[in-house]
């Protein structure tokens, strides 16, 4: 027999409970706009959503770092262009000098202008962005270029930055460097055989010299029929006869300086004392070149006009080499910027896709929720109504 009082009560309360629970769930979805408000709502979807959210955050961070790297490279590019302008200007000045229209006083003023250019280039090479030096490689905290001065003028520029790149991760598994190693971009590393410019008769030996840029080879008489060779203005000397006696090949005498640099000299045809400029193509840097040009304008070594002209002509070649180097660097930086821009676009698309997928997975269908909620409300009301009817009427009502 069915219809006991407890039975009716249990069925009604259970039905009401079910409807209430379902309405609460639908209400939560409607309020939050999301069908997944906790992992238990849909565990497999939740895993995907949490993963996508994490991916999105990570991509956003990569994009920010990438943007910063791009900004740094763009600034570097601007600086490099400014340096290139300075090189071009120097070349123009030197060409004018070689046209022979400048007297000594004018050459002195030009030398001062070259010095100003050098100051400008050093300053540009020591540019900072947001507290970080652009051209110090991995060392962004101290100025990469240190100057030595005599009477207020720059006499040498030394690179003291890092020789390592500062690599940062700009995308998962992809690293790029925003901070350049000044030593690499403002100086060549494509050594050729040294070229001897002078009248002493010295020539390049067969060994691989390590001197860079322009080096002055001083040939002096040793008073014993041989010659002393020096590449540091006599601070250290190598005697040709002594070297040969010790077993060295006269066609390949190693002339060293206190810094450990070596110039291999073929001393076979040395016939007179004097100073030769030794030019090593492919090893020049901007700063030493400008210093050389400045020194040539002042002719402190009192070279002859012919020698001076030859050296100035060489300087033009070197300035071309430097200019070529700067252009290549600009291209490298430009292509790096292009690469990073493309990468940024890809990352932004990935981020958008991740965001989109997460939203699609989580988003609640509001229209469907509204329909379901109405339906549940109706069922709830029906349950209450039926309960009222069943529990209020019994046979007792009809007994006399």
């Amino acid at each position: 027999m069915s219809g006991s009082l407890n039975n009716i009560y249990n069925n009604v309360s259970y039905a009401l409970y079910l409807h209430s629970v379902e309405m609460a769930r639908l209400q939560e979805q409607a309020t939050t706009g999301s069908r997944i408000n906790r992992p238990s709502d849909d565990p497999s979807c939740s895993y995907r959503v949490i993963t996508l959210n994490s991916q999105e955050k990570s991509l956003e961070n990569y994009i920010n770092n990438l943007s910063e790297a791009t900004d740094t490279l763009e600034l570097s590019s601007t600086v490099i262009q400014d340096i290139q302008s300075a090189i071009v200007e120097t070349k123009v000045l030197l060409t004018q000098v070689m046209g022979g229209i400048y007297n000594e006083e004018n050459r002195e003023r030009l030398a001062e202008r070259i010095n100003d250019t050098l100051e400008q280039v050093v300053s540009l090479a020591n540019t900072k962005n947001m507290g970080q030096y652009l051209f110090g490689g991995n060392n962004t905290t101290s100025a990469p270029y240190l100057t030595e001065r005599t009477n207020g003028e720059i006499t040498s520029v030394t690179y003291q930055g890092s020789l390592e790149n500062r690599e940062i991760e700009v995308a998962p598994g992809i690293k790029s460097s925003a901070f350049q190693v000044g030593y690499d971009i403002f100086g060549s590393d494509d050594r050729s055989d040294p070229v001897f410019l002078g009248d002493t008769g010295a020539a390049a030996g067969s060994g691989t010299s390590s001197v860079k840029g322009d080096t002055w080879l001083t040939v002096t008489d040793d008073g014993g029929g041989s010659y002393d060779l020096s590449i540091d203005d006599g601070a250290t000397n190598v005697n040709v006869a002594a070297e040969v006696l010790a077993g060295a090949d006269i066609a390949n005498i190693a002339v060293t300086n206190a810094s450990g640099e070596v110039l291999y000299v073929d001393a076979t045809n040395i016939s007179s004392t004097g100073v030769d400029m030794v030019s090593v193509p492919g090893t020049y840097n901007i700063f030493d070149t400008l210093i050389s040009v400045k020194d040539l304008l002042r002719n402190e070594r009192e070279l002859s006009d012919a020698q001076l002209r030859e050296l100035q002509d060489n300087s033009l070649t070197v300035l071309d080499e430097i200019n070529e180097l700067i252009v290549q660097t600009e291209v490298t930086v430009g292509s790096k910027i292009g690469f990073l821009d493309n990468l940024k676009e890809s990352l932004e698309k990935l981020k958008y896709d991740a965001e989109d997928e997460a939203t699609l997975l989580q988003e609640a269908d509001i229209a469907q929720i509204a329909i379901d909620l109405s339906r549940r409300e109706v069922l709830y009301q029906m349950s209450l109504s039926i309960a009222g009817k069943l529990m209020s009427l019994s046979l007792l009502d009809f007994l006399g």
Binding site: S44, I50, T141, V262, S394
Partner: protein, 660 residues
């Protein structure tokens, strides 16, 4: 006269029927009440001559309408329902405490922010603002871990307390059941049925089944024995008290009072849920969370100890308090080595010394290691262990130390020639394990001069590079050795292969703390602690952000350590089932979600089952008001008829008496 007897029996029967019906209606809403029925039988009949006459109606007894098998099934399912409901409620609480997919985010967000901050730091390793950001995000991460760890520990304590509370209720019910058994037995032996008492007793058993699983066994005189998890708790009229507590493995279980033989395999009811939560579900979640925290601590520290921050090398470092000096008590310290570099700050000269750790009896305590450092071991550095077992390493005045894997600037040479070159070494080794690069001279001659002069470079795997140092090599130029990241430069000089194999070696390091000693004792670590509750950023890091170890190179300006620490985001960790930290956490949280979801489904299914069983029971044993009202009508008519019959008999007798 039998006629009157018949009438009176009818009235009697009707009256008893009214009592039963009244009792049923009165208890229509009483939980656990089983409706009763009056059993009537025709009374003893008498024979008068050839005629056999009926004797009216006898009240044979009262029947309690109950399906015992159904009742047992209800106890079982009720028990199951309570267990799953309790487990579900607790797991929901845990899920909510993790706060994933809610506004503000949970540990997942903190993990992401932390690794993002490390990545930002790798792009700006020397800037204070980024160092501070990394530390702040680490502190937030640690706080999240601590909050969750503490919450789970508190929850476990609450579960234990709740279990004690429940067992008290269980004991109270057991006592009551035994008492009711006694009363039922006494009543049924002496004066017949004790159905109301039986209902009360069965209701207690039903309440007990919600607390713990029960098995019942009926005996004579209405007594029911009750046992739970194999323990007989009510035998006849005797009750056995139960206790709840932790066994030697700290697992929650129940035992007979004062016996301490804990049974941890408890199923059913709230107690079953509490035991399952404490021993398995919550313990499992806590274990996973602790694993994750510990892995984060270990992974980050293993790299951090080897690097330096923008502040550079150290003059003094003190580790954390340890419980023991014996290295065998440190689970993360293995037999290995620690390599310490000491720099003369005036001359820049650098030395590196190997410290044996757990290699033998002379290196298996912190005190012995400190002794080695102080003795002939490490020049210009001293070490001590205080009463709290903290290791302190200090440099002498004019010296600093660190644990950088950076190559020493000079190589170990073995040259035979009178004027050999000097070898300078630089770069940052890209390998992950320690090795020795051997540079063997091939050919004879002068560096930079002779065509045949080369260096054959080998490591533990074999030959890795051949480099030209003869004609074409400018002395002083750096040569990068393969993909090692190491660069060498040679000065002018002579080398010889023919007479004696000239060679030099460079020790390279991927790990300067192979023993794990530094991480274990807190020297130059980033995180302290070992689990979710005690993970924290080391105090000396928070006090000085420049101590965040971002660099690995000799000049200490690089970001290589920051890069490799940031890369841990995507590195699978063996201790985390070869998952990355993010993947492991996501698996943890979705496992919790999955458990909640499964429990929800299970609860729904069991609820329906219990509902159906309850309906079934109501149909059999429940009071139907309409049915009782109808029966009341019948017996009312019967009573009226019997009264009329007796009145008719009386009238007949009076007529006979008048005749006489």
């Amino acid at each position: 006269m039998d006629s009157f007897g018949i009438g009176i029996s009818g009235l009697n029967a009707a009256q008893k029927a009214f009592d039963i019906i009244g009792n049923n209606i009165a208890n229509a809403a009483t939980d656990g009440y089983h409706r009763q029925r009056l059993n009537l039988t025709p009374a003893y009949s008498s024979q008068i001559g050839p005629v056999i006459l009926g004797g009216g109606v006898d009240v044979a007894g009262i029947t309690r309408i109950i399906d015992s098998f159904l009742q047992k099934e209800i106890f079982l399912q009720q028990s199951s329902l309570e267990q799953v409901s309790q487990e579900l409620a607790m797991l929901r609480t845990v899920e909510n405490s993790f706060g994933e997919l809610s506004a503000g985010g949970g540990l997942s967000t903190a993990l992401d922010d932390f690794f993002n901050a490390l990545q930002d730091l790798s792009a700006h390793p020397t800037e204070t603002i980024w160092q501070n950001q990394a530390i702040t995000s680490a502190q937030i991460l640690a706080a999240k871990f601590q909050t969750l760890g503490q919450f789970l520990t508190t929850l476990e304590s609450q579960i234990s307390l709740e279990a004690e509370n429940v067992i008290n209720q269980v004991n109270a019910l057991i006592g009551k059941i035994a008492e009711l058994n006694y009363n039922i037995k006494r009543q049924e032996i002496s004066s017949g049925q004790a159905y109301n008492l039986r209902d009360q007793r069965d209701q207690r058993i039903s309440e007990l089944s919600k607390l713990i699983n029960v098995e019942t066994q009926s005996r004579e005189y209405g007594v029911v024995d009750v046992s739970t998890s194999g323990i007989p708790v009510v035998i006849n009229t005797s009750a056995l008290e139960l206790e709840v507590g932790l066994n030697e493995n700290l697992m929650l279980g129940i035992t007979v009072a004062n016996e301490f033989n804990y049974n941890t395999d408890i199923q059913g009811g709230r107690l079953g849920a509490l035991v399952s939560l404490k021993n398995d579900l919550i313990a499992g979640i806590q274990n996973d969370l602790d694993n994750l925290a510990n892995a984060m601590i270990q992974q980050i520290n293993q790299y951090h100890v080897q690097g330096v921050g923008s502040e550079g090398s150290f003059t003094s470092l003190t580790g954390w308090v340890n419980e023991s000096v014996d290295l065998s008590d440190f689970s993360t310290v293995a037999a290995g080595y620690t390599y310490i570099r000491v720099t003369n700050t005036s001359t820049g000269a650098v030395t590196r010394t190997q410290i044996d750790v757990n290699q033998d009896a002379a290196s298996d305590t912190l005190t012995e290691i400190a002794g080695f450092i102080n003795g002939a071991g490490v020049a210009n550095v001293t070490a001590s262990v205080n009463s709290s077992n903290q290791l302190t390493i200090s440099a002498d005045t004019g010296y600093k130390f660190d644990f950088l894997p950076a190559v020493l600037p000079t190589a170990t040479t073995d040259f035979a020639e009178a004027l050999p070159p000097t070898v300078t070494v630089s770069g940052i080794y890209t390998g992950t394990s320690n090795d020795t690069l051997t540079f063997t001279v091939s050919g004879d001659g002068s560096v930079g001069n002779d065509d045949s002069l080369q260096l054959i470079v080998t490591d533990s795997t074999g030959m890795i590079a051949t480099v030209n140092i003869g004609s074409g090599y400018a002395v002083g130029d750096e040569i990068t050795i393969g993909n090692t990241g190491i660069k060498i430069a040679l000065s002018i000089g002579d080398l010889n292969q023919t007479i004696e194999d000239d060679k030099f070696t460079v020790q390279v390091f991927g790990n300067t703390d192979t023993s794990g000693l530094l991480s274990a004792v807190g020297i130059n670590t980033f995180f302290s602690g070992s689990n979710a509750q005690n993970i924290a950023v080391c105090a000396d890091i928070t006090a000085n952000p420049k101590r965040v170890a971002t660099a690995l190179g000799e000049d200490m300006t690089d970001n290589n350590n920051a890069l490799r620490i940031a890369a841990l985001r995507d590195q699978a960790v063996t201790a985390l089932d070869s998952l990355t930290p993010g993947e492991y956490y996501r698996r943890l949280i979705t496992d919790i979600g999955q458990q909640v979801s499964v429990k929800q489904s299970h609860q729904k299914n069991v609820e329906v089952m219990v509902q159906n069983l309850a309906s079934q029971q109501s149909e059999i044993s429940g009071v139907n008001i309409n049915d009782e009202a109808a029966r009341m009508l019948i017996f009312e008519q019967m009573f009226k008829a019997m009264a009329k019959y007796l009145s008719t008999l009386q009238s007949s007798l009076s007529t006979i008496m008048e005749i006489i």
